[in-house]
Amino acid sequence: MKTAIIVFPGSNRDRDMFDSIELITGTRPIGVWHTEATLPDADLIVVPGGFSYGDYLRSGAIAARSPILKDLVKKANAGVSVLGVCNGFQILTEAGLLPGVLMRNAGLNFVCKEVMLETVNEATRFSKTFTKGQVWRCPVAHHDGNYFADAETLKQVEGNGQVVFRYAQSTNPNGSLNDIAGVTNAQGNVLGMMPHPENLVEDLQGGTEGRLLFESLAASAA
């Protein structure tokens, strides 16, 4: 699987993403600086976590207007797999590639801890190696992860099966509506999620369930 990772000023989970994807797929992703005009041909484009532009204006707002975003939107619309994690999720919602918005955590605190996730849709290219209803532990680290969408959008998102991961066992850390932790676009080729699967890929990290997401993508690309 060929992967490209977009790097912004203030990205800080990009290296974890490079290492994890290389570990799982055997191929080192290509890094793309945000000022570039085009992305290389890839099976997967990742928008990593961090604090692009210091979260100025709104988290992800400035990064979502970077030059590279034009080509990202074009490739996403053409069906290329796009994964946004944490700040990447915020950037994809700000860019209009995903429904809804990530607001300040309901408790106002930055949360850095482990939560339980339930895979509620195992029929996506991001989740097909999970079992339906699989509950797994995953780290989160964010200040603006409170998923919000208006009632009509939420109805569509739920009705279309666009919710892939939900916070489970009362571990919703941020007040997200319907415990939404990860959501796709209507076409199902763009996923945004607040938890960090790239930080759960080796035994040293206390678990390897994060691998399942990248293995799903690799299987879809093959």
């Binding site: 204006l57 709104r58 707002a61 207007r65 919602t93 700000e94 809804g100 918005v101 607001m103 300040r104 955590n105 309901a106 408790g107 106002l108 409170n146 919000f148 969408a149 208006d150 959008t153 007040g175």
Partner: protein, 79 residues
């Protein structure tokens, strides 16, 4: 020409920061507050000389960047 943009959260959107400010004001013995909603103000200095054209351009700035219209409303004042 100067423009002021005021961005506010739409009704029904939870505002945890506003809630915290409300609580802190209560702690300072300011009673009688029904609700606090936090927003943003942007002051822009424009080269434009035509008020109508300026307002139109600032509206586009709001739609494209200054506000996230999923959760925010904006108001424009030109002077």
């Amino acid at each position: 020409m100067k423009a002021r943009v005021i961005v506010t959260l739409k009704n029904g959107v939870l505002d945890p920061q506003g809630k915290a400010i409300e609580g802190a004001l209560g702690g300072l013995d300011f009673d009688g507050i029904n609700q606090v909603r936090q927003g943003k103000v942007f002051d822009l200095e424009l080269q434009a000389t035509d008020k109508v054209a300026a307002e139109k351009e600032v509206a586009q700035m709001c739609e494209k960047l200054l506000a996230n219209t999923v959760i925010e409303n904006y108001a424009i004042e030109i002077e």
